[in-house]
Structures are given as structure tokens and as C-alpha cells.
Symmetry: C2
Subunit: 329 residues, 2 copies
């Protein structure tokens, strides 16, 4: 099967922008036209696109966009982040790979990218839909020299960095941040960020920043139940996204914002976060062991908690991302 795929690709590669008829392919590869149709379908699943004409046959339109470390390296303008990149065809979860690499001594800034995740995960152990070659599924190892209690600032910083990177690479869209670090376009989720941190006493050991971005997914790539609340950069902009460019831009934004944070503290990050937030002004429900709360989100506190103004005018800060927006989310 694999060999036949490669022979088909070679055949189309030798005749760029031309139609190859089913009978011509059949003659050259010594297989039936039904077998050819099956192999074409398999190639489509791998990300190849074809134009099919009953009269002329098949024309190869595009080869899959697979990420290579060299693609990212050629665009990278960072000092440290992403200077070591590991690309995988398929993994259970890039977070798991990153944890293993850290245990084995992976250095600051090591990036893990996969074309597909079988058990990609989001917040609270939720599944992250990761179809092959269509999204960015990556995990970044960082070992920031900050005390543990400041780690939540980085959760917000990462969202600001990704928001800015998307706006630069895909200027047609304007994502907003849903507290703490989901990105939405018109209320639909475009990406999720998960920071898994590990500490010894007050010393942060490392953070693995997992990022999932729906780049070139089309409507048919989503399960029916996700369509009302998920979208992709392609669906919103009408253009294919250069994933390597978006990764390189995100790493640059992240590094620059982290330098800003280290020199000026949380203040500027908070300002940037609030300027891009869609959560502020919205009604947010939350619960803790003492009961349920509902209030209007008015801002962040010094520790990245979301400040709610309750119906009686009192302020309450929530920290858990279990908070639910009232309404459709």
C-alpha cells in the first residue's frame, strides 16, 4: 500500500499540473482502476488534494503541508525558544512526549510538534480534536526562573502571545481571549493552551506549554457536535495558514513578552490581556466549596484571577478555569 502510494506520487510529480487518466495510471502501475481510486482516497486522507474529472482523470493540486524542523528553523527569530525542534508524524500527546524529554534532560526552549495526536488533551483532561496535518499541535519546554506563585501570569502571557501571533500571520481574523487562555473568533474556539507545571517547594522546575491551533481544518474535519463551538483559521479567513510561520511567530511573541514580563512585571501583560479579552463585561458563573456565584467579569487581579462584580456590588475573584460563562459557551 505504502509503495503504491509512493509510485502514484512519483507519477503525478513527473507530470505537474497535468491530468493523468485512470487508464494511463492503470497501465503504468499495473493495477486496476478501482485500486487506483482507493489509493487516491488514501492519499487524500494523508492531505494530498486532487481534481477529478470523469473525462480527463486526476490532477494533483497540492501535496500535504507537513512540518519539518527546517521549515520552522528557517523562519525562527528567537534567541532560545524553538532552537531545538522535534517533529513527529503521530504521537499520543505532544505533552506526554515533552514530559518524557524533560525527564531525559531536554533543554529550555525545546519544541515538540506532531502532525496528529491520538489522545491530545486540553484543560481538565478534555480531549483535543487533532486531525492529521490540519492543525498545530505542539508543546514547548520552558524553565523560567520565577517563583512558583507567579506561574499563573505565564498562563495569561501565553494567550496574549498566541493572540498577537495569529493577528500578524492571519491579519484577516481578530481572535479574542476567553479567560484564562482560550482564543475565540466570534465566540467559536480557535485554540487552546495548557501549561503543565512542575515545582519543588517554591521553585518552579519547568513548564510544558501545550498549544493546539485549528489552522487548516474544513467543516468536514469536525465532528458534528463541535461545529457550533469550534472553527479554524482557514474557515474564518478563507486562506490556508502557513503553520511553520505561525509557530515561528508565536515563539517570537512569547519570548518577547516573557522578556517584557521579567523586566517590567505583570502590569504590561495584564494590560495587553485585558485589551484582547472577550470575557470582560460578560456574565460568568463559578462555583467553589462555599457555593455558586454569578457576576460580571471586570478585570484581572495581581495574580491573574478573574475579578467578578456580583449582583450585590461586591467583588469576588475566581481562579479556577471551571468557571463557566453564562449563555452559549
Amino acid at each position: 500500500m505504502v509503495l503504491m502510494k509512493e509510485r502514484l506520487i512519483a507519477l503525478f510529480g513527473a507530470a505537474p499540473d497535468e491530468y493523468l487518466s485512470g487508464s494511463e495510471i492503470s497501465r503504468q502501475l499495473h493495477v486496476s482502476r478501482t485500486a487506483i481510486w482507493k489509493h487516491i482516497q488514501a492519499l487524500k486522507e494523508d492531505g494530498y488534494t486532487f481534481e477529478a474529472s470523469p473525462r480527463l482523470g486526476y490532477k494533483l493540486l497540492s501535496v500535504p503541508d507537513t512540518l519539518q524542523p527546517s521549515d520552522i528553523a528557517s523562519l525562527l527569530r528567537t534567541k532560545t525558544l524553538g532552537r531545538t525542534v522535534h517533529c513527529y508524524e503521530e504521537v499520543d500527546s505532544t505533552q506526554n512526549i515533552a514530559h518524557r524529554l524533560v525527564q531525559a534532560g531536554a533543554e529550555e526552549g525545546t519544541l515538540i510538534v506532531a502532525e496528529r495526536q491520538t489522545t491530545g488533551r486540553g484543560r481538565l483532561g478534555r480531549h483535543w480534536h487533532s486531525p492529521k496535518g490540519k492543525g498545530i499541535y505542539m508543546s514547548l519546554v520552558v524553565k523560567p526562573d520565577i517563583p512558583l506563585h507567579m506561574t499563573p501570569h505565564l498562563t495569561l502571557l501565553a494567550a496574549v502571545a498566541l493572540c498577537r501571533a495569529i493577528r500578524r500571520v492571519v491579519p484577516e481574523v481578530s481572535p479574542g481571549i476567553k479567560w484564562p487562555n482560550d482564543l475565540l473568533i466570534d465566540g467559536k474556539k480557535i485554540s487552546g493552551i495548557l501549561l503543565e507545571s512542575s515545582a519543588e517547594n517554591e521553585n518552579l522546575q519547568y513548564i510544558i506549554t501545550g498549544v493546539g491551533i485549528s489552522c487548516n481544518l474544513q467543516k468536514e474535519d469536525y465532528p458534528e457536535e463541535l461545529l457550533p463551538k469550534a472553527t479554524s483559521l482557514y474557515m474564518e479567513s478563507g486562506k490556508r495558514v502557513d503553520r511553520a510561520a505561525l509557530i515561528a511567530e508565536f515563539l517570537l511573541q512569547l519570548e518577547e513578552l516573557f522578556d517584557l514580563y521579567m523586566s517590567q512585571g505583570f502590569g504590561p501583560i495584564r494590560t495587553l490581556w485585558e485589551a484582547s479579552a472577550v470575557t470582560l463585561g460578560q456574565s460568568v458563573r463559578s462555583s467553589d466549596p462555599n457555593g455558586e456565584y454569578e457576576g460580571t467579569a471586570v478585570g484581572l487581579n495581581d495574580w491573574g484571577g478573574l475579578v467578578l462584580k456580583l449582583a450585590d456590588g461586591t467583588l469576588k475573584t475566581i481562579y479556577s478555569a471551571n468557571a463557566r460563562e453564562s449563555g452559549h459557551m
Copy 2:
């Protein structure tokens, strides 16, 4: 070898408080007197103590103090902590076992205790000296419902709990806390606490609280180089410590202080910590990327950082336990 040890123990068990001569043992077990001497040495290493008389032979004085889950359970007065106990003869590190158990779903309050650790670890990956049966080497799984940025409070809370537990069970000694959570008696280290925490974004997933306490170690149990800076409860009090009682008391103190923390916040914990601290008033050196600092420790800030008063009168808060006291430590 093992079989011979068991036969020797059985022989002494059948003659309590009596001397058994070398020739008598030799006759009954059909081994040479040199072999008997070797087996007695091996038993001593396992924690058995003997009196040896050139004329009378050997008398068994005490069998090793091995911890059993039932010993701890019978003394336990907690609601949750330590309600599940796993005791091991020898492990690499109780922290490692605890991490594995958490991944496998271990519940809140699960306690891991070992008689011996081959690679017991303290802060910053330092080795923790863990001779067999002489200390308490334990790890506790907790999943407190607090935001990540409050975790450093628990580092200090654990030190207060252990300090109070030791004072109750061994009233002859009066340990003090060295920031953040080492316990000292007269400047010598008696125990260390290491909290390894894991978080997803601002949500704390779990903390593994590792505690090492030097209980019944004697001078000869220490490598020469540790003697100037380490001591044991036995060496300081002159009495053997009931390890199960100390574990049960620590868990009770920890649970009660945590309830206090959840109802009244960090204030009372800070007061208790400061009242037991040996660090306050001392000169402390610290370094960060911006340089070296030296100042007098004057208290804790709201986030558990140590506030130093520098020579020029300004205050500086340090968070990293890399801070070194000036002088002998």
C-alpha cells in the same frame, strides 16, 4: 544467608534475655563461629541489637523497629490523611513511588512509608541520607482545592505541622524552622520537607509532600562529613522515638493546620511559622540574575517569600531556597 539469619533469630527468640555462647550456636546451626559472627553483623545492619560478651556469647537486646500500616492506623486521628498507607522495605525514593501511585489514581491522603531509600532526595536534587529503619522516610499525596499561586503557603504550613508534631512526641527537643521548611535543633538539621507539585494552568493537580526525619540514628549512622550539620531526635533527646506515633501526630497537625488555613487564610500560619523560625534576625545571602544580596531576615510576605532588610535599609523579598545563611550552614 537469609535462611541462616532466620534460624539465628529463632534461636535467640526461644531464649529471651539469655546469652547464647558461640559454641552452642555453632553446634545447633552447624556453622563455624566465624560464620556466626558474620551473621550477627548482618543482623545488626538490619536493625537488631546484641550485647556481646567474650565469656558468655551473644544476647539479643532488641529487634528492629519496622513500621507496619497497622501501627500507624491504630494511632491515627485524622479524617483523611494517612487513611491509606503503603509501607515498603526498600524503595528508590518514596517521592517516586508516590508519583507513580498518583498517576495510577491514588486518592487524597495516601501515605507511602519506606524503611530505606536508595536514592532519597531532598531539595534541589540533593541526596537525603536514609539508613534502614532509623528514620522516617515518607511521602503524602494531597490534592488541595486551592489555586496554584497559593501553593507556597503549604510549604511553610508543612514545616509548622512537623515542628509541632515533633515537640509533642519528643518534648525533650525544641526544633526551629529554617526558611522555608527545614527543621533544625541547635543549628543542626533534623528533617527536611520537599513538596513536589503539579499543575495545569492555574489549577493545582496534586502535591506530593516528602518528609525525611532523622529519628533513631546514632552518631555512627552518619557519614563523617554530615556530623557537623546533622543530628537525630535520638541523639538530641537520648530516647528512642516511636516513629508510628510521630507520623500519626504529623498527619493530624497537618490536617488541622490545613483546615485552619482554608478557613482563615495564611495569616495564622504565618504567625505560627514566624514564632518557630530560627531564620528571623539572621543574616541571609541570596542571589538572582540581577546580583547578590545580603540582609537580615525580618519576616514573611503574603506569598511566603522571606523579607530581607538590606544594609541600606531597603527591603527585598526572596523566594528561592537557594538563599544561603551567612555563617556555618
